[in-house]
Symmetry: C3
Subunit: 294 residues, 3 copies
């Protein structure tokens, strides 16, 4: 009976890891990605003033991982755009999210239970992308471990890694921070996932790829759904990371950026200070103006 159970699990994993992502999962990916774009301050104004810029940003959100992976492997960055149906689908989603009458589509997909389902589906796609990226890089560079990790990483993180330039397209420039300096949970998880899949691909991890896909998907879906439901930005890695970083890299304990930076403003990097000074100045100007108005 036990053998049968294992066999079944293997078969389920096999089936799951071969399941087609297009169109259901991909649409969920596009919806959640463009939803996050709409959350960005100023993105709605951009969609009114310059639909082309807004469309380009939406495409970066949807296909950023393919663009980056293609760049990393020396292919054409817009290679993925020959999948007309995918691009048309993403364009339709973009149009519905930004321009649907009465904002109906946005309200539907941003409704929490719906959003949780979509987020779960998105994480399924993300895991698949990481695995595909590592596999693709392994095909091109048989012993290039670093290349495999990097390709899997950019495949999982997508637009987040080039958020500075995506913002620039919308006329926003925030050089003080970037996704690598302050990694969010999905970016970190993509890095760890890319390392795991690389270990699997080079046979250091004695586990079948389909099972690893299954397990990692399970972890990602659970974490991300839980975090979305609780509006949390904390990371399940925080405690372990904090100790490992303290031991290996002398990082101050309890100064995990994605978690605690509201509590320890004094620990902020000096790099951020000029921006703060500017903000303070503006703050001051605003206060003076409002006083005059009174």
């Amino acid at each position: 009976m036990d053998v049968l159970g294992v066999l079944n699990l293997g078969e389920i994993a096999q089936y799951f890891s071969k399941m087609a992502m297009f169109p259901v999962f991909d649409v969920a990916y596009y919806i959640v990605s463009i939803l996050y774009l709409k959350y960005e301050p100023g993105s709605v104004e951009v969609s009114r003033r310059s639909p082309v810029a807004s469309w380009l940003c939406a495409m970066l959100y949807c296909f950023g991982s393919y663009i980056l992976a293609d760049v990393m492997l020396g292919a054409s960055p817009i290679d993925y755009f020959h999948n007309n149906s995918h691009v048309l689908l993403a364009t339709a989603v973009w149009y519905l999210v930004f321009y649907c009458p009465l904002n109906l589509f946005y309200k539907c997909v941003a409704f929490m239970p719906v959003k949780l389902v979509l987020v779960a589906l998105k994480e399924v796609v993300r895991t698949r992308k990481i695995a595909a990226g590592v596999h693709h890089a392994h095909h091109a560079y048989h012993h290039g471990w670093f290349i495999m990790v990097i390709t899997g990483y950019v495949k999982g993180s997508g637009v987040a890694l080039i958020s500075n330039f995506e913002q620039l397209l919308r006329g926003v420039w925030k050089p003080d921070s970037n996704e690598i300096l302050n990694m969010s949970f999905p970016t970190k998880a993509s890095l760890y996932g890319a390392i795991l899949f690389t270990l699997q691909e080079t046979h250091w991890l004695p586990i079948s790829k389909s099972l690893l896909i299954c397990l990692f998907t399970l972890f990602m879906v659970t974490s991300k759904v839980f975090m979305t439901a609780r509006h949390s930005h904390g990371s399940p890695f925080a405690l372990v990371e904090s100790w490992v970083c303290h031991l290996l890299f002398h990082s101050p304990l309890g100064c995990d950026d994605s978690h605690d930076h509201h509590h320890h403003p004094a620990a902020a990097a000096p790099a951020a200070s000029p921006a703060k000074t500017k903000e303070e100045l503006n703050e001051g100007t605003r206060k003076r103006k409002s006083k005059k108005a009174e």
Copy 2:
């Protein structure tokens, strides 16, 4: 007689679309492009302080479209630089425009009637580039409509699309705006041209390519010469675009950026406000200083 007329028109179009661009038309393209570079504030100082940076900017102005198209199709970005004669010619034009004794060359080519002829020749090259870009992309991706449009677009727009980074080379950084957020007429026309040529290439537009080249060249030359002569930045598309954008993308009517932004400062995007605040501050400082001087 009518058939003969059509035959002749087709023959003329055929002849026109096969005409060699090198060297006359290309030189005109280089001259007008580098003239626009010299108009940029600070570019003359850069040419004195750092000739290498100035030369690089000039090359970006002259060959930006080739560089971008090569990047988009995954080729070497400096592939076009193996045409030594083209690069040497562009270098000679750059030298004459920036360093000619008594500024003689600049004065000649900036003289309005001469400039109008050069601008007309430049638009001939632009149209050819768009057509070549679409054709090239069609060769690489037979059904990649989006790739064709994007390649034709970057081929027509050239350095304008990377103006932020070209400015950065000269030590100037204006993140508040970019060519995609505020499209100028040539960029818009390149986009529409790329769409037309893509439709032609995929046989959705029942018209011969040579005729389309002819007609689009005629449109571009007329518009651009007219606009240059009148120092206008308005666009012949403004009215249609304004209505289409209003209907499709809920853009506020009459808020076409390239046309009316002098009249409606209140409609400016919030993204531009920090820069304005800074400018106002500087303005204030300057006023105070000039008062003291008095």
Copy 3:
């Protein structure tokens, strides 16, 4: 006897130009490069807060020249990372420089006599890289002189050419300047070296490549060791360059940026002025604050 002397010199040059760079010379290159990274203000904080960003910067410092050359020739930018041993070695050096207990490793390699030896070894690698870059480009583009010069140039200059983006990774943004606008000595020497090696490769310079490598290495080692020992940023080209630039490009005499900008602050480019204004403002604010504190 004289013939024998020449023969011997040729043989020595031949032997020297075939000498393996890995691992001794490469390690020296990594150490000096990462040392310069540690000198950058804020880089130690980044290494504490975000080891991934710090590691990426270190890799850019060590392999920036390969990355840039691969990009220029249209290959995968991370192609060089399939050399696992090189990357692991650079990673080890990075770890030792930034996280070694008691800062022991840093103190050792920053100790002047040791540093001078390492700097000398680094310049040997640089010259080899320029020669290899030109050769590689010559292989791909037989008559592409400009491509050869550009490839050799980026191979010699490495991360310096993309320092703006390397800084951005660490949350620092200084658009007012860049390596092309204000060339440092190694960047300039790389440019001249790339031109010399291109002339040699295209048989305009009647000299064997091994001899040119020898002579250029000698020049680079001498200059760089001398400059490091004297903490000087002046360039041996300054006088000649100043006159040539004055004659060819109307540059003001004696305004060589890398040499004299401390003595002639009035000659600073207008591009730098907004930043200065901001700094002055901050300065003012700080003064007022400190007054209040008193």
